[in-house]
Assembly symmetry: C2
Homo-oligomer: 492 residues x 2
Amino acid sequence: MTAFDDLMAHQRDTEALGQILGRLHWDQEAMMPRGASVQRSEEIAALTAVLHARRTDPRMADWLAQAEAPDDAGAAALRLIARAHARATRVPGRLASEIARATSIAQGVWAEARARDEPALFLPSLAEVLDLKREEAAALAQGTDTAPYDVLIDDFEPGATAQGIGAIFDRMRPRLVALRAAVIDAPHQPPTLRGHFDRTAQMRLAREMAGVFGYDFAHGRIDEVVHPFCSGGGQDVRITTRTAEDDPFNCLYSTIHETGHAAYEQSIAPEYRLTPLGHGASMGVHESQARMYENQLGRSRAFCGWLHDRMTAEFGDLGLGGADGFYGAVNRINPGHIRTEADEVQYNLHIMLRFDLERALVAGDLAVADLECAWNDRFEADFGYGVPRASLGMLQDVHWSLGLFGYFPTYALGNVYAGCLHAALLRDVPDLDTHLGAGDPGPATDWLRTHLQVHGGLRTAGDTIRHAIGTDPDEGPLLDYLEAKFSALYRL
Amino acid sequence: MTAFDDLMAHQRDTEALGQILGRLHWDQEAMMPRGASVQRSEEIAALTAVLHARRTDPRMADWLAQAEAPDDAGAAALRLIARAHARATRVPGRLASEIARATSIAQGVWAEARARDEPALFLPSLAEVLDLKREEAAALAQGTDTAPYDVLIDDFEPGATAQGIGAIFDRMRPRLVALRAAVIDAPHQPPTLRGHFDRTAQMRLAREMAGVFGYDFAHGRIDEVVHPFCSGGGQDVRITTRTAEDDPFNCLYSTIHETGHAAYEQSIAPEYRLTPLGHGASMGVHESQARMYENQLGRSRAFCGWLHDRMTAEFGDLGLGGADGFYGAVNRINPGHIRTEADEVQYNLHIMLRFDLERALVAGDLAVADLECAWNDRFEADFGYGVPRASLGMLQDVHWSLGLFGYFPTYALGNVYAGCLHAALLRDVPDLDTHLGAGDPGPATDWLRTHLQVHGGLRTAGDTIRHAIGTDPDEGPLLDYLEAKFSALYRL
């Protein structure tokens, strides 16, 4: 066995154990009895410790120093293993334990603060988590001149920087604010869906939609939970969705979104399974697949025409005045405060707000005590109305309680990437609408599979997109698409 | 930290990882998509290797040498850890891998041989597995004068010996053969249930039965699978069951059986959770709980009276002529060849046959080539008719392909223990039938909980039963119970 073979054999078991950890999280949300949470947290802690020991195994430094990659895929795997090893070894065990403990507590405190709408309750926990994450960032950055927030971003979007993302977001913001304002004030407003829709029928239709978008049920399953997600990799990629009796769109489009995540994982070349290349390239690239399935494909006029007929067959007349009304209803932009309920336009504004605030928090330019005020000011500037209570503002998301600083921007980066991929797809498949109108996204999902998904983690996030579209990604295509789509829909 | 504390902390994580391994097996049978089996086997192999490394950790010998138990529970935990450590270290890694590989292949070969009814196809695999298990037994027995088969039994029923079990079985066999023959030839025969029974209603009733027998749904769940089983421990003990449209008894009594296993695990003292005491004392003691819930309680005349009314309410008239016919139908003894379909009387004969044959195989007194002939001769001697084909004979069980020599006798030991526990229960709760007749096994399950289940693995199997009943266990109560029950039912 060469050092490369030793390292890859070690990594293969680590990847297999990582799959098990993901399965435990799935089970916790989808299957676990409610009284098992203490034991489950002990199980997860034990397995996490095993994974940490494997990633910091002293033999890895020797293997990495001696390993010679036989090909490009091997070289990419070595880079990813070295990166994970460096990140794992740089953070002292004491600090990692502190972060695990503090975030576990902070999540509970956040939930109570949100339920009682008392931000002051959450601030001490948030301050502690923030301090620990800044300490972690300093440990990770040692010996480099990387800024702390960039180090944290790197955990989710390797290679991205706050400066690069900030430049994109700064160019997007004025055009999105303007588009949002025009749409909200437009005299023509699309209809809203009303009624009661059987949950069993929704789940049946959701499974059908997953199949339409290429989900492979032989290597996955769909279950109902509180918060939809996708988990697993390789031969076992599971998705979850939710149902609400008055809102079948939520179930269907959540399912199509998660199918985008799942199709990415399911389409990665089989020879990358249980290697570092057997995952999506980054959170942003992953989100681009989910967003494109959900929005550019699933909420297109062409596909909506087909879906309208399908839903009418299932539920009877929807009272939306036909396919055009249906298309309007699934794309309707409503005034609101909550990120997870936002449409294609406002979603990005929600993200930019969080990006600027968390960047300032990590840099030490914004104190936790001033966060609510800063949030509310920025919200009013972009959305034109205030935040009546913290549960509709800075307390709405779980992320910061979990220490997930640097995660939010990947959502909007995903939209930017999706815009680029959509433009490139339309060049290669000019008659896409004909297929979508027949309920067949196959030409689009095939294009994504061969141009992007099959390569998994072979390339960095930026190179993954560049390889698929042939140029550097930028925000232009997304903004052009949004302005064209919503100007037409709202007759601006 | 003392050596004892270090050892128990190490063990706690090992126990937590062991729970995860059990969960993976549950998921594989109950949830896993069909295309994920290769990856799942890699995940299980990786986690099994982690567990093996923890159980053979060189620090354990030092800890075990230095640890001082603070109390009886600590001393029992030390004994169990030392035992597992000794077993894990005595088997060379090369041999453990060989057994894993050979049994994995043999299981597939066995399935094909059974499907094609070709025993010759299976014999080479069986011979290889047997040789490897004999090698393992020799490794485990080194430095002692324990016989190979006793070493293998010890894996499932610590402390039991072939001689002790054989003496019990030899006393049971003539009385059971005679009872079986009398019953089969009796002029009066109970009715048989016929009809179609909605599977959803069966599952609803199965969940109700689990609740009636004390299953804690806050710390478990019930799902439908091909082969019923119970898995997990501590806060998360799951059971599975199956449905067949023409046989609701199978679903209900399988569920009550698994509820017995689950109630044992769920009732163990919470302070034993994630310690070596947090499991049942042995396979035999575990089986005694499952059998007692299923048979002595669930198939009693008193409980059958209540269940008859409950099932009639669910499915309408069952065509059995009332509660007496119902009681006869659930206890009916049918001529047949298959162990898993056998009743309370014949089941033990099936086990004794396997015990004698596998004991001879491991001792080298019976050649694999002569197994089918030996099986068929013995079957005809005990049951009075021949075995028409190997799938109804030596190919019917998966156990030997998996290397599970020494496992079969624990099923019948469980029946023997259940007989003893039932007799002791009736002394303490003389009006048990009044409660069972009202659909309330509570006084029985409470008695089992306080006398046996709560203690988990604190005592050896034999001491666990002795502690519960106050005397040494023997086969007398079981045989007296069976002869009385079936003589009355068949009007002998």
